[in-house]
Structure formats: structure tokens, C-alpha cells
Subunit: 473 residues, 2 copies
């Protein structure tokens, strides 16, 4: 193992190194495609399990739609095809023959799902229709980065249909709020939410809401989106149904999704010079028990106690692992599990066994103390909550220190060069002004529900409201 | 809703109708690709959750490997490419350009995973390596049938590497046994296991074990396989490691998988003239509560009681649903949930409310009786076990009635024409004799660990052991 690059001065290199050293991913011979290794996949399984439960509790049902979509489907919604065409991977041959019509590997499933919705929605009684899919999707990326931007990635995409615009809008906001809860209470990442500008919204959508985190290097990360598609797609896919009054109507549609990118956010926001720091609620292993075996001591008694403590922790719902590999020193194990961000460590040696306690410490260095055997499960559970809370607070403070309010583009430009971060400013709403940000490799991230400035950051027209500007992943 | 075709005389039509009427799947414009609708997907989620737990408990870790595999990877193992080439779907263009090397959508992931294993296995300390992946795969099918044979399907593929042939063989048999447990104790389907013949084994494998069910129409269904790959692939992918003695060695590999086809097996084996019959252990809804609302009665009190009973059932770990749709009659609801195979039904009307009980019946017609409110949870739990057991027993009896022992191919041919089923016979082991079965659209399904015949079913050479022959899906 090599030492990790300095996280403050070489953040990007640190990220690239830590994901391989902690065995989250590995490279493959296919451009932009990575292997998500067991430890990385286990984090995704934790995140997925939390979100899947909420998706079901909010009245959605999972289903599965085809990987391949006829090319012609993409052409039905004009903005949609324009947005996705450059990123498509295309199957032209199958079963030993050239296909009559090429098939596209889904970059997102609106078109196929709306085709099916048109079959299923015939009467107002069929609404609302609330479907979700966990799937792999593909968007050909020129500059791939594991978790943040890969050719193939994993996500959930929710797709719903409603009788009224109001109901569709409520759905969009409900699911946005679920994402915020996931980010705040599980990933321990504070996120800002708001509407995307016309330029930045999803191809074909009427409105796109986003939730974004700020990474320690001052770049914004779009962590997921919730779209009010309204009737555009419904019309493109001829999704007519008989409403309560007996008229033919088009339903109002939504879609919303979040991806394996969330793992990238967790790595960046919480990581430190020793490696990953995982929030306990999504850590595949919350407690690692390391037996300290010394010559002459009763090795078996220590190992037995380690296992019986693990059983008690498991019973209390704690995800625990005993590292009893005798070929490695305790020091090597400490290093190994710190790199992987396991929130808590339990050490148990001969003297601990005598005294009837263990040493419990945590990845954040909040405390290290002796805990009696019979109090370990309750203490670890409390400590997990503390760590979870502390991580969210630290991330919130960090973000506050990188959130600037500035009036004009010259200040934004200067700020971006100096330290980067979120720049809150006023905007007239015109695309030409937004366009100016390209010069500084920045974009509008979302519109805010505030008005702190009278004029636009670029022109002298009146501001319609605040906008958040940043460089982004 | 149309009446289902007669299940005895028109089994194939019955299958085709029931999967659409019960809303398990729907057709799409892409040949061989189906939508798995929420009810179908919920069954898969139940099956997956059971198997995933067992895969983890037997020491495997989930991971995720790329969807697209370079075409050249398939050519590294000669038998493997020959076996899969005709079924591949190929991506030739991506990101607006023609690719330098075409990429294949994985039909199975041995090649990509072995490429990665070669990177990860450097020392005997890295063994055993035990990985599993839940994924979508694609094999271009000319005669698709939902769940049984579709272009895209869902499965798990386990891939492991071991230091010795014995350990690899043990792994292959362990996972085969896990599949048998899944089939017997969850799907309630009796399966036969055994080795595939040389002709029928997995392309590139040394040995393939299969587990197969017998469908009511007398056709065999291969429900999954467990392969001893041995060192073929390890050599093809240059998977060398330093063994305990310091020499460079090749590991011994295995792979094993089962698919959404299991749902097809459940539909066929347990279904009846009213539709699906789901084993309680994998039924997304185990109990449906139907309030019987009559004019003049206290409707709200009945609905409240239905909901409070549902809460109690949920607490007891029963998957329950209250069908309180006031636009449908109780009769329409009975029909709806019988078609979907829900194992138990609870009716509660005004008189039941007065008497403090509900009417509990089951999909098999085993019993229909009044159960006091406070005994519902325990009774439903016991009844679920009874139904599960009964389904397995019925399927086992049915299979026994379709399992024939016959000495010669003429008898097999006659049998197949008359009633089909499993034909147990003797075999000399030569491919030419096996080849003769093609004339009768039959194949060897697996070798049995018995020897009931002295000579081969086809020639007069000595039998090496019994073989099971059938037509198959």
C-alpha cells in the first residue's frame, strides 16, 4: 500500500487513489466501465435498501423494463433525443444478423416506460400510476471517473402518471424530499435543492428539481433530480385516457432518479487523510473487532470472547466483523479498516479480557475508552448515532465556509479561481447571462427561494431571484 | 378478463394467458424483451432475497461487473465462444462513433470476471475468492417465452476460485445444494440433480451439474446449473498465482447461476384453472383481506377492523394487503386475487364483526373456517406452512406419476408421444446414442447416481449408469 496523496492539496489524486486502495472499484479494459468490488457494492446495497424501503412506503412499486430501446423511440420527443443522442451506445447486430432497426442501450427509460404507460393507462381509475425501476443505464462518457461519471452506472428511476398537474408536482416534491432525507439522515451530506434553469433541466422536462452537495474542493455535485415532465411525453407517446368526465385526456408525468454517484459524494465529503470515513447508517461494517493476541496469552479465550461480543452486537442490529487473521499485526489491521472508513473499532487483548472490558474507539477520533462487555452493544449503538450526527455537522460547517454571496460576475470569477465553492447571486433569468459563466467553467446549479440581490450578476436588469453558481463534477 | 384456457388440454395457451392476465409481464416492441410488471417483479424480489441471504451466509460477496465485454475476450476460451457466438448482441457504435473493437452485451460474465480474477489472485492467501453478481444478461432468442426464454433475463452468477480441484468441486456441490433447498423449501418444486452429459454441459466447463423440475405437461425445465470450470478458463486468462510452496499455479474455478426462469417454474408447477397458485414463502402477498360491505351496515367499523387485523398480521411477519376498493364487488375481488395466486383470503363482513371472527380460506381449498380475531395471526402463520407443505407434496406426487423407467429408445419414443415426462434408462455414454434422441425432440437431462439397466437405451453396449431423458423447455 502506498501513502494516500494529501487530501487538501491533491484532492483529485486522493480520490483516485482511495477508491482503488480501499478496494471499492477496479479498472477494466472497457473504456469508462469499472468493476464495483464487494466493499463498494456493499455500500450501494445499504443505500439502496434504505431508499427502496422509502420508495415502497410512498406507494411506488418496482418493475423491470427492457435494457434495449428502439432508436425510433428516442425520436418521439424532440428535446429528449437531442439531449441524449451523443451519449448513446447502439446495438446494430444480434443473433448473427444485422438488426432491421438499431437498438439503443437505455441512457434513461422514459421512452420505453411511457410506451408501456400508454398501454396501461386507459381510465382515470388507472391513475395515479407509480412505478420505480432499479437498473443499469449507459451514457458514453469521454472523461469517466468511478462513481461520479462512468459509462455504465446504477440507479433507480421513478416514473409516475397523475390526473392533474398539481398531483404530479406534489409527487416531484415528495420524492425530492425523500432524497433530501436520504442525503441528510443517512449519507450525512447537507444538500441544497431547487429548480434547474431552462438550460440545465432534463431534456424534455417542464421543470427539473435537483439536490446538490458541495464537495470539499469547492465543486458542486448534482446528486439526483426530480422532474415534472408534464404532458410533453404523454403526447409524444399518445398516452390518452378517459377522465372522470368521460373526455380523453393526457396524464401529467414525473420522473426522478439517483445513482451510484451518491457513493462518490460520501467518499469526497467525509474522507480524510487516512482514507474513507463512512456514516454508520450506510457502513457495511459498523464495528470491527480486533483481537490483540500476545505470546503466552490465552489466544483462544480472546478469540472466543471476540466472537461472542460480535454475536451480541449482531443481535442488537449492529453490522460487525471480527478480523481474526493471524498473519497480520494489529497495526496493519488498524490501517486496513481505517482506510475503509469503518466507523468504530473494538480492541480486545489479554488485559482487557481480565478486566472484563474492551477498548472502543471511533474513526473520527471522538473518543477512545474502556467499555464493559455487557455495555458494548448499547454503547456502540449510541456512539453510532453520535458519529452520524457529527459527520453531518462537520459537513454542514464545511459547506457554510464555502458558500459565498457575491453581487457580480467579476467577484464570482475571482472567487472561483481562489477557492471555489457555492456562489449565491442575483439573476435576471436570461440564458445569455447564464452563458457568460462558461468562461469560468461554472454553471448555474439551481434557483433558490430567496432574493438577496436587486440586479443580475451579469447585466443590470432586475434579478428575478437568487441563483446558486459553482463549478461542478 | 377472458376465461383462462383449459390447463389440462391447453397448457401452453394457459401459460401464455395467465402471465398476462395476472399482470406478471407485458409485451414490448423489442423482440424477446418483456416488461416484468410490479407483481411479477415482486415475486422475483422475494426469491432473490431468500437466495441472496444464503449466498452471503455461505461466504460469498456481491459485486458488479461491466455489462459490455470486448469481443476478443470471448475468443480466449475456444468452446466458450463457439457456444455463445450465435446468441450475442453486439454494440458497434457508441458516443457517435464506430468502436474500434465491438463490445458484446454479456450473455454470462466468465470472461470479464476471469480477467479481473487474474488481477486479484496473486498469492495463495487470495484464495478462495468467492464472488456473486445479480445482473441482467442477454442471449438472442429466436423463440422467446416470458420467464422461460427471453432475450434479456435476470439472474445471479456466482464465480469462485480455489487452490485445489477438491475445494472447487465441494463449492460446486454446496451451491447446487443451496439451489435444491431453494426449490424444495421455498418454490415448493421437487428437483432432480445430476451431471450434464458432455454434449449438454456449459461451453468451457469440465463438469456441469443441473437441477431440473418436471412441468405438468411432461417437459423438463433446467432451473439452474453449477459448473466445475477447473483450470481451462484460468489458463485462457493467464490467472497465475504463487502457491504455498512458492510455485506458480492456476486456480480451480467454478460458476453457478439461476434466473428469473424460476418464476416460470412456479407458475407452471403450481398453477390451476383459476390462475396462479403461489407458495406462501415467496408470495408477495400472503393474505388478502376483503371487507364485505353491505348496505346499512357500519362500513367504517369493518374497514377499521380490516386495517387493524392487517397491522397485527404485519407484526407477525405476514405479508398482507387490504383490498378496500369500493368500486369492485367482493366476487370480483375473489376472482382477482385467485388469479394472482394469493395463498390465503380473509373475509370480514357485518356478522363477522359482531361475532368477533373472520372467515379464513386458502387458495388450495384446504379449509374455510371462522377464526377469532385474536387468533388470526397465529392461524395464518400455521396455515401458510401447511399450504407450503401441501404444494410440495402435490408437486412431488405429480412428478412421480410422470417418471418412467424404460429400457429402450422405442419405448421412450412411444412414451413421449403419449404423455411425455421423465424417462429413466441406461446409457453407454456415447454421444452417437444420445444424438438419436433428437429424432424425438428429446435430450438427456442429467446422469443419475443409479444403475437400473444393464445396457444402453440405444445400442447394446453396457450401460455406465442411468440417465434421465425428456423433452424440455
Amino acid at each position: 500500500m502506498q501513502k494516500l496523496p494529501n487530501i487538501t492539496t491533491h484532492f483529485s489524486e486522493w480520490y483516485n487513489d482511495v477508491i482503488y486502495q480501499a478496494e471499492l472499484v477496479d479498472q477494466t479494459p472497457v473504456r469508462g466501465a469499472v468493476v464495483i468490488r464487494p466493499y463498494g457494492w456493499a455500500i450501494w446495497e445499504e443505500v439502496k435498501s434504505v431508499l427502496d424501503q422509502r420508495i415502497k412506503q410512498t406507494g411506488h412499486q418496482n418493475a423491470s423494463f427492457p435494457l434495449l430501446i428502439p432508436e425510433s423511440f428516442f425520436k418521439k420527443e424532440a428535446e429528449h433525443v437531442e439531449g441524449f443522442a451523443p451519449e448513446l451506445a447502439i446495438v446494430t447486430h444480434a443473433g448473427g444478423k444485422e438488426l432491421e432497426e438499431p437498438l439503443v442501450i437505455r441512457p434513461t427509460s422514459e421512452t420505453m416506460i411511457h410506451h408501456m404507460f400508454a398501454r396501461w393507462i386507459k381510465s382515470w381509475r388507472d391513475l395515479p400510476l407509480k412505478i420505480n425501476q432499479w437498473a443499469n443505464v449507459m451514457r458514453w462518457e469521454l472523461r469517466p471517473r468511478p462513481f461520479l461519471r462512468t459509462t455504465e452506472f446504477f440507479w433507480q428511476e421513478g416514473h409516475t402518471a397523475h390526473a392533474t398537474q398539481e398531483q404530479a408536482h406534489e409527487e416531484v416534491l415528495t420524492m425530492l424530499q425523500e432524497y433530501v432525507d436520504l442525503a441528510h439522515n443517512y449519507l450525512a451530506i447537507p444538500v441544497v435543492t431547487g429548480l434547474k434553469s431552462e438550460t440545465e433541466k432534463f431534456p424534455g422536462a417542464e421543470k427539473t428539481y435537483t439536490f446538490e452537495g458541495l464537495m470539499p474542493d469547492g465543486k458542486a455535485l448534482q446528486m439526483g433530480t426530480s422532474h415534472l415532465l408534464s404532458q410533453n411525453f404523454a403526447k409524444a407517446f399518445d398516452m390518452k385516457y378517459q377522465d372522470k368526465e368521460g373526455n380523453l385526456s393526457y396524464p401529467f408525468l414525473t420522473s426522478w432518479g439517483t445513482t451510484t454517484r451518491l457513493i462518490g459524494a460520501v467518499i469526497m465529503v467525509h474522507g480524510d487523510e487516512k482514507g474513507l470515513v463512512l456514516p454508520p447508517k450506510i457502513a457495511p461494517t459498523q464495528v470491527v473487532i480486533i483481537p490483540i493476541l500476545k505470546k503466552g496469552a490465552d489466544t483462544q479465550a480472546i478469540l472466543d470472547k471476540a466472537q461472542s461480543l460480535a454475536s451480541e452486537l449482531k443481535k442488537a442490529g449492529v453490522r460487525v466483523l471480527v478480523d481474526d487473521d493471524e498473519s497480520k499485526s494489529p497495526g496493519a489491521k488498524f490501517y486496513h479498516w481505517e482506510l475503509r472508513g469503518v466507523p468504530m473499532r473494538v480492541e480486545i487483548g489479554p488485559r482487557d479480557l481480565e478486566k472484563g472490558h474492551v477498548m472502543l474507539s471511533d474513526r473520527l477520533g471522538l473518543s477512545k475508552d474502556a467499555v464493559p462487555f455487557d455495555q458494548l452493544a448499547s454503547t456502540a449503538t449510541e456512539r453510532a448515532d453520535l458519529i452520524q450526527k457529527e459527520l453531518f455537522e462537520r459537513a454542514t460547517e464545511k459547506r457554510a465556509s464555502q458558500w459565498y454571496k457575491v453581487a457580480k460576475i467579476a467577484d464570482i470569477a475571482q472567487g472561483l479561481d481562489a477557492q471555489s465553492g457555492f456562489y449565491q447571486t442575483g439573476w435576471c433569468g436570461k440564458a445569455e447571462c447564464e452563458q457568460e459563466l462558461k468562461k469560468y467553467k461554472a454553471t448555474t446549479r439551481c434557483l433558490l427561494d430567496e432574493k438577496s440581490f436587486d440586479t443580475c450578476f451579469n447585466c443590470d436588469d432586475a434579478s428575478k431571484g437568487d441563483v446558486l453558481i459553482a463549478r461542478s463534477y
